[in-house]
């Protein structure tokens, strides 16, 4: 277990380094490594779109199948369609593998995300079955090799009375019905895949089934250019009386065949079965205790639905309020779905620290760090500060460590997610003696809880409720996107803020004005 944890940590360090490099080229928001799931969806849509046209042109007879696909090479549109279809399949496998790796590295196979993980694992199988089945349709030498290799591999399991591979012994054994069966596999399994994808994203609100437009256009353009410059071509027609001597194998999709040739069908079954077993078992291995989930206080919940709208995991639903007033609703938390991120608390209008109650109790809150605790700690920190121009930092447990900023003039508060911060806390801190406030979120698109950095940004810019009031002196607020390992970015942001508040002078009542 320890070695697995060390391996994961090592991998995560490498992954984050790669993410930062990609950030420099694409910007954080458009970094493809942060949109792997959505890129997988894009590849699927490209496959579906090109596949529908290809199917319309496809001749489902043994004699016509090869010709109908091969003739596409004569037309630019045909080359584009066929190339897009193949290269999108390769892309799907690549991004799916990276998506799986990333989610494991960041520990997303466990806890409340277990459902998404478990529904995602079978999709890997569906993708490969769909993809490998596509090669058979062409019925060229590569399709022949793949179909026979697959049949021989399946025959290694004692499931059928007669070997499947006997269907490929003689030329007359292959007929139009077999091609129809191939079509059934290549069309039917992707439909299952689509159904599985629907399950996979069930517990995610605002699931990204399409990457940002520029990224989608960029990838589509690259695949189209590849399809035209490096067209996918057929091998010679299938000939069951001979073995194709040289194959231009698609190693992304067909690597299991040569692996079986090099080892044995039993070995590859053990590898595939063992791999699947490990992936299914990962969420059930010993893991850290789950974070406490959000708790609703009926007396302070006015049914505004902000938490319902902002929860990234659909853990909040609205139910009739127990006070039985007609039309009044109350938030209800599904503990199985709750990530314990606190984004709901940040969305609750009752979380404003300006409320006069001695004990600040909000409508929905996290027991491990309540809004009331945050206000008390903020008050204490500002009261205790002897700095001439105190600075307050609100950061994230999953982002750059704001503890590294501790200094004589800095009070840092690391939240479960910066999305937990009600924007009114910024104004409250500024009114209560802070010269400036730094709000640090993870990099764009890099929030551990998917939407925290986005909601925080929109709330502070007044584009999302609850928003930061327009009257707040914006020069005293600094926002920064700083993910894990971005402590230098955080320090630089603090230095900028410190420099900006330098001209401000205290008025003796804890307020700051331009000198």
């Amino acid at each position: 277990m320890r070695s697995a944890a060390a391996l994961r940590q090592l991998g995560l360090t490498g992954w984050r380094a790669a993410e930062r490099r990609f950030d420099t080229a694409f910007g954080s928001r458009l970094n493809p490594l942060r949109h792997l799931g959505a890129l997988g969806f894009l590849a699927f849509w490209l496959l579906a779109a090109s596949g529908v046209v290809l199917y319309a042109l496809f001749d489902t007879s043994v004699a016509g199948a090869y010709r109908s696909i091969n003739d596409l090479a004569d037309l630019p549109l045909g080359r584009l369609l066929r190339g897009m279809h193949r290269y999108a399949a390769d892309t799907l496998v690549v991004v799916m593998g990276l998506h799986l790796l990333r989610e494991w590295l960041v520990g997303h196979e466990r806890g409340f995300r277990r459902f998404s993980w478990l529904t995602g694992v079978p999709l890997v199988g569906f993708v490969f079955v769909s993809a490998i089945g596509g090669f058979w349709l062409n019925w060229d030498q590569l399709g022949q090799y793949s179909a026979i290799a697959t049949a021989e591999w399946l025959d290694a399991l004692p499931l059928l009375a007669a070997p499947l591979a006997r269907n490929f012994l003689a030329v007359d054994a292959v007929n139009d019905r077999l091609i129809s069966l191939f079509v059934f596999v290549h069309v039917g399994v992707p439909l299952l895949l689509l159904f599985g994808l629907w399950f996979h994203i069930q517990r995610v609100t605002r699931a990204a089934v399409m990457p940002p437009r520029s990224l989608a256009l960029g990838l589509t353009a690259v695949l189209a250019a590849l399809a035209l410059t490096w067209p996918v071509t057929s091998h010679a027609p299938a000939e069951l009386g001979s073995v194709p001597r040289l194959l231009r194998l698609d190693w992304f999709l067909l690597f299991l065949h040569p692996l079986t040739d090099a080892t044995s069908a039993g070995f590859v079954w053990a590898l595939v079965g063992g791999g699947a077993l490990v992936l299914f078992a990962l969420p059930f291995l010993p893991q850290p205790a789950r974070a406490p989930v959000a708790v609703v206080d009926a007396a302070n919940c006015n049914g505004c639905r902000h938490c319902f709208a902002d929860c990234p995991y659909a853990a909040v639903t609205m139910v009739p309020h127990p006070n039985q007033r007609i039309g009044r609703t109350l938030a209800q938390v599904n503990a199985d779905l709750c990530a314990g991120c606190g984004i709901c608390a940040g969305a609750c209008p009752s979380s404003t620290p300006f409320r006069s109650a001695a004990e600040l109790v909000t409508g929905i809150d996290l027991p491990q760090l309540t809004v009331g605790d945050l206000r008390r700690r903020l008050q204490q920190a500002l009261a205790a500060s002897r700095a001439e121009r105190p600075l307050v930092v609100f950061g994230c447990d999953h982002g750059a460590r704001c503890a590294t900023l501790l200094g004589a003039d800095v009070s840092a508060f690391s939240l479960l997610c910066t999305g937990q911060l009600p924007p009114s806390f910024v104004e409250y801190a500024l009114r209560d003696g802070a010269a400036g406030v730094l709000v640090a979120t993870c990099r764009e698109g890099g929030c551990e809880f998917r939407l925290g950095e986005r909601w925080t940004d929109e709330r502070l810019q007044g584009r999302r409720e609850p928003h930061l009031r327009a009257g707040v002196a914006t020069e005293r607020l600094e926002r920064v996107f700083a993910g894990p390992g971005d402590e230098p970015v955080l320090k630089a942001a603090l230095a900028r803020l410190r420099q900006r508040v330098q001209p401000l002078a205290p008025d003796g009542h804890g307020r700051f004005h331009h000198a």
């Binding site: 990609f22 950030d23 420099t24 080229a25 694409f26 910007g27 954080s28 928001r29 193949r86 290269y87 390769d90 892309t91 690549v94 090799y145 021989e152 025959d155 009375a161 007669a162 070997p163 591979a165 006997r166 012994l169 003689a170 960029g218 990838l219 690259v222 695949l223 250019a225 590849l226 490096w230 996918v232 069951l240 009386g241 001979s242 073995v243 194709p244 001597r245 040289l246 194959l247 231009r248 194998l249 698609d250 190693w251 992304f252 999709l253 040569p258 040739d261 764009e444 502070l460 810019q461 914006t474 020069e475 607020l477 600094e478 926002r479 920064v480 996107f481 942001a493 900028r496 900006r500």
Partner: protein, 177 residues
């Protein structure tokens, strides 16, 4: 609020664009290359393939036993067959010799829970592509000592050729095709 300080610049620098082009290019190169390279040699240049494959039902494992009048009387009228035969069939054993050397001996059990189905064999042999003297023997009766079916042939295999050794149930003979 100072946007420029908080958010990465929306306009990418020239080096960022160059980085994007490089990364997109590397991705396209990786996809383009590994979708068809390196070429795969399924079989050596001077090799051929022999597939031994058949589906054949073995003989019952025992003889039919005639039932006595008393035993028949105990049976319901519609089930009074004069003999009682075992359902289970013999495993089918195939042996292949090439140039006098045994290269395959495989015994296939009958399929089905009651072991009353056909036996199936599918096996691949990669052999040098040249003239070969083949001897195939097939036994389908545990009570018999000798092979029920036998086939001897000299075949000339060309590189990449597939020779299928099968059993023709209609002709009741081992076939080479």
């Amino acid at each position: 609020m100072p946007e420029a300080a908080a958010r990465p610049p929306s306009r990418l620098t020239l080096s960022a664009w160059a980085g994007q082009v490089l990364l997109y290019g590397l991705f396209a190169l990786a996809i383009g290359v590994f979708s068809q390279w390196p070429p795969y040699h399924h079989l050596g240049a001077d090799e051929a393939l022999i597939k031994i494959s058949f589906t054949h039902s073995g003989k019952p494992v025992g003889d039919c036993v005639p039932l006595s009048p008393a035993e028949l009387a105990r049976l319901p009228p519609n089930m009074r067959a004069p003999t009682k035969c075992p359902r289970e069939r013999s495993p089918v054993t195939v042996q292949v010799d090439i140039d006098g050397v045994n290269v395959l001996t495989r015994s296939a059990p009958p399929s089905g829970l009651s072991k009353d189905g056909a036996s199936s064999v599918y096996h691949r042999l990669v052999v040098p592509a040249r003239e070969q003297r083949l001897s195939v023997r097939l036994s389908d009766d545990v009570r018999a000592r000798d092979a029920a079916f036998q086939k001897e042939a000299i075949v000339s295999l060309t590189p990449g050729q597939v020779l299928v050794i099968d059993f023709d149930a209609e002709k009741r003979a081992i076939t080479l095709q």
